[in-house]
């Protein structure tokens, strides 16, 4: 019986090749997207499977009850906790704390911003990150590098024993290099430091302070054979003892929870300060994009199968008369869709191989996922399920044919079924495609806008050169000599990025009006160089005159209008001469107020800004070059750079280019474009098939009308009228939805484009053109046919 089902399934697919191709392509496209999402999900379950002790490792979470923010679960915990657990509880074999920091490391004349974890020695006994060479960083002042970091700093040279500088932490000796992990981990880092190393001064108090629970993570390794809840059971007592008598600012208190390493990924609950485990919500979002694409393809299958129902109806009648139960007929149709779906899986795999190298796919979706048998099993099960589901609707409709109706020798009776269903599916398909297209175009335009917009500072003709923390005065002096260089200034971080140094600023040392503000370090040349406008007061003074006390540069600050508003100064003029307290400790005086300009991502409205002259924080030189002399000036600047930094490549970049590259994401756009392209092809092919089969059933009518004198134009009109109506309807439905979807995305940006007629009409226009072409070609061919051929056949 099954053999018979499959034999006829194969023959049917072969006989109706157009049908099969359209559906295999469509289902494969949808499946490819789903497979990416499934692989990602599967990968999420495989996180951290390489630690030998993973069943015994737990992370301690802190559930904080806060008067302002309510109850929140933090992935972090107070730093003294690890010591307490290890000392007081025998079932704890090992604990490890880690503190995550992001900052600039330098070695071998190179400098990189690296993600670092400062870890206890226990880290290396607890986790199974494989070492490629050397030994773990257990003593203060040592570090272990990942393979990638080691190569970035030292190339092929042996990094062991080399020294790396990290801010105030001082020199770190490299003791080892990690091998690449076999699978991904929720812990992502470029470098591991021994925690004993004094990092930033602010951390020192933290290690003994039970009030601070956001600075680091605590992991616990239980002894073998200890039940999982042993730790969970003692934690209330630990929290009780720890918090007794503590004075919090806004918190009512906290308690501890455990989280098994094996349950960490994917994360079902969002944690504050979480590490890098994939979130279920994100995975589901990806899967639903895949499922929608697959749904579009499923619609095609349903549509085209029903469009061929005339041919299939007779077969259903015969089988029933020969003794088939309805369920057996259903099984037959399901077998067919399953075979089709397995073919689609094959093609989907090929497509997957094609998109695998795409940067977006590697970075966000499937990098590091193990392609094992389990995954293949899931893929096959998924495609069979897809086949069964896609086959279910047409199987239901077609198996309902009564033999008495379909087997009468004159087939005058209406046997077309599900016509309104088919029409709605076409409309939905095209509507979804249009909505997706309008959304993508909105995103694209927003990115272009952010990439090219007027930020309120001059962005043209400025070359940014990244520099190290060393004094740059001699380099600056040399640059100023270059012909074509108008001005050179310095700054700590580029504008147009996410901001840097966001912190609390107060009017008085204790209390008073306070606000969060961004602070950047710039030199006095900066303001004229970027054509910033001062509304009141003066520019920053040069560093020398600024140093009232040794090392106290940055006594004066410039603020923007928004800062003046945030600190409740009546106007810009009133702010000048007033003082502000930065981080509760530094008192600075406002020397001038600048007109507002955009200095962070467009996602945020303009925020309070403080500019200080702090030469040790400068990381970029901004060289303004006279228009027309870019070429020669750039060559001279390179030469000067080489002279000052013989070991470091020149990394200057035009500000214009930086803003453009930073805001356009060609990789992401390419991938989304691919998705839309697939959706469009699915809808287009579906329409093509629909028109083909529907026109086929009307071929006799066309013949008769032509004999009676209808011309080709009239026939094309006749055949295409219904489809054009469907397309128009989907346009009408999709326009408002697309407008809403696009705005939903744009809503995330404080400064955004507005979706105009241009985007809307081109979205609909592309679809209508595609649809009209499809319909036109197909119906024109039918109208051209010689009526003698169609009428001769009985």
């Amino acid at each position: 019986m099954f053999r018979n089902y499959f034999v006829i399934a194969f023959r049917n697919l072969w006989k109706h090749r157009l049908f099969s191709l359209i559906n295999i392509f469509g289902l494969a496209s949808g499946m490819m997207v789903c497979l990416l999402a499934i692989a990602h999900i599967k990968g999420a379950f495989d996180y951290d499977t390489f630690h030998p002790n993973r069943d015994r490792i737990y992370r301690v979470l802190t559930e904080v009850d806060d008067r302002r923010y309510g109850r929140n679960l933090f992935a972090t915990s107070p730093m003294p906790l690890a010591e307490t657990l290890k000392r007081d509880y025998a079932f704890v074999e090992e604990t490890s704390r880690f503190v995550r920091t992001y900052g600039e490391f330098s070695a071998n004349y190179k400098r990189f911003d690296l993600l670092s974890f400062a870890v206890d020695p226990g880290f290396f006994r607890m986790f199974g990150f494989p070492m490629a060479k050397g030994r773990p960083a257990t003593e203060p002042g040592t570090a272990v590098l990942t393979r990638e970091t080691a190569e970035r700093f030292f190339g092929t040279a042996d990094p062991i024993g080399q020294v790396i500088q990290y801010g105030s932490a001082g020199p770190l000796t490299v003791t080892g290099v990690l091998a690449d992990s076999p699978v991904r981990s929720h812990l992502k880092f470029d470098i591991l430091l021994a925690l004993g190393t004094p990092t930033k001064a602010v951390f020192n108090g933290v290690f003994f302070d039970w009030r601070q629970y956001t600075n680091g993570y605590t992991y616990v390794l239980l002894r073998p054979g200890i039940p999982a809840d042993a730790l969970e059971r003692v934690l209330p007592a630990v929290a009780g003892r720890a918090t007794r008598g503590l004075k919090f600012q806004t918190e009512r208190g906290y308690s501890f929870r455990t989280q098994a390493l094996t349950d960490l990924s994917p994360a079902f609950r969002e944690l504050m300060f979480s590490t890098y485990e994939p979130q279920v919500s994100g995975l589901l979002a990806e899967l639903s994009v895949g499922l929608v694409t697959l749904l579009l393809a499923g619609f095609n299958y349903i549509n085209l199968t029903l469009a061929r129902s005339l041919g299939r109806a007779r077969e259903v009648g015969i089988r029933k008369v020969a003794g088939a139960l309805r369920i057996q007929v259903v099984a037959q149709f399901m077998a067919e869709s399953t075979v089709l779906s397995l073919f689609a899986l094959g093609l989907a795999y090929l497509m997957l191989e094609l998109v695998k190298p795409m940067a977006f796919v590697q970075r966000w979706l499937i990098g590091g996922v193990e392609w094992d048998l389990t995954l293949w099993g899931i893929f096959i099960a998924f495609s069979i399920l897809t086949g069964l589901l896609a086959g279910a609707v047409p199987a239901r409709v077609l198996s309902g044919f009564e033999p008495a109706q379909v087997l009468r020798s004159k087939m005058g009776l209406k046997v077309m079924r599900g016509i309104s269903l088919r029409k709605s599916l076409v409309v939905i398909q095209f509507a979804i495609s249009i909505v997706a297209m309008i959304s993508l175009m909105s995103m694209h335009q927003q990115m272009e806008y952010m990439a090219t917009a007027d930020y309120g500072f001059r962005r043209e003709g400025i070359l940014n050169i990244p520099v190290g923390p060393a004094p740059h005065q001699r380099l600056v002096d040399d640059l100023r000599q270059v012909a074509g260089v108008e001005r050179v200034s310095a700054m700590s971080k580029l504008f147009g990025h996410h901001g840097d140094g966001f912190g609390a600023v107060r009017r008085q040392r204790t209390g008073g009006d306070s606000s969060q503000a961004f602070s950047f370090a710039v030199d006095p040349e900066f303001v004229p160089n970027f054509s910033l406008q001062l509304l009141a007061g003066r520019n920053l003074p040069p560093a020398a005159a600024d140093s009232l006390r040794p090392g106290a540069s940055g006594r004066f600050v410039l603020i923007n209008e928004e800062a003046a508003r945030a600190f409740r100064f009546p106007d810009a003029r009133a702010a000048v001469g007033q003082t502000l307290w930065l981080n509760d400790s530094t008192e600075v005086q406002i020397i001038g107020v600048m007109k507002d300009f955009k200095f962070t991502s467009f996602a945020w409205a303009i925020k309070p800004l403080i500019l200080r002259n702090r030469p040790d924080e400068f990381r970029f030189l901004n060289v303004r070059i006279t228009p027309g002399s870019e070429e020669t000036a750039l060559a001279d600047i390179r030469a000067i750079w080489k002279k000052h930094n013989p070991y470091e490549a020149f990394a200057g970049q035009w500000y214009d280019d930086f803003l453009y590259d930073h805001h356009t994401h060609p990789e992401d756009m390419n991938f989304m474009g691919l998705l839309i392209g697939l959706a469009l092809s699915i809808a287009g092919l579906g329409l093509f098939g629909m028109v083909t089969y529907t026109t086929e059933t009307r071929i006799r009518e066309v013949g008769i009308r032509k004999v009676m004198g209808a011309n080709v134009g009239q026939i094309v009109m006749l055949l295409s009228k219904d489809f054009v109506k469907l397309l128009a309807l989907s346009g009408v439905i999709a326009l408002p939805l697309g407008y809403m979807a696009g705005n939903l995305f744009l809503h995330a940006f404080a400064y955004h484009i507005s979706i105009g007629a241009g985007i809307l009409l081109s979205g609909v226009g592309v679809l209508l053109t595609l649809g009209a072409l499809t319909i036109g070609i197909r119906t024109y061919r039918a109208a051209q046919a010689n009526p003698a051929d169609s009428l001769r056949a009985e």
């Binding site: 019986m1 018979n4 034999v7 006829i8 023959r11 049917n12 006989k15 007779r314 077969e315 009648g317 015969i318 089988r319 029933k320 008369v321 020969a322 003794g323 088939a324 139960l325 309805r326 057996q328 009564e402 033999p403 008495a404 087997l407 009468r408 020798s409």
Partner: protein
Amino acid sequence: MISLRNVSKYYPAGFGKIYVLRNITLDINEGEFISIMGPSGSGKSTLLHILGLLEEPSEGEYLFFDQPVQKLSEKRRTDLHRNHIGFVFQAYHLIDELTVYENIETPLLYKGLSSSERKSRVAELLDRFNMVAKKDLFPTQLSGGQQQLVGIARAVAAKPKVIFADEPTGNLHSDQSKEIMELFKRLNQEDGVTIVQVTHSETNAEYGNRILRLKDGWLEPSEVIGSQL
């Protein structure tokens, strides 16, 4: 074996209904060979479909082997189709995607015969209908007469008690018709299969033992063919 009591069939039309069959009372015994005749649209096919359990009568009672079958579950009806009833159609209605062999095998699959039983039964039929050489061809590669032979082979494959044939020779020329009629006659006489056929041809009708004439849905008194009286 078949007995209709006051059976009528109507279809709703507008506010009223259109009667296709009116008050038909009819008995068919096992082993009979019956021909149904009548003008186009007189309800012949409808009557055949009701007899073959493809349609339900609107009124009246139908006993098949003394069992009332007006309202049967799908399972029971399918059971009768599998084991007792075979159909032959004017348009042959073979499955184009299956070979001759597979077309004949189809009812045996649904009947649940084992693979070896199916093989021997199909081989026997191919042999009997002289189609062994054509067993791997597809229906479109056969002439009309050959297709109808396959259609009949398929109808008798499951060894039904009765075959309903709706204008089985309607699309064939006369020598082909004759061949088909001879075949029916042999099936009727040698295998004892009851045959009910619809035909427009008096010559073909003569092969049977009884002719039923339908007119506007009414059944005229049946006539029994000559010599047998």
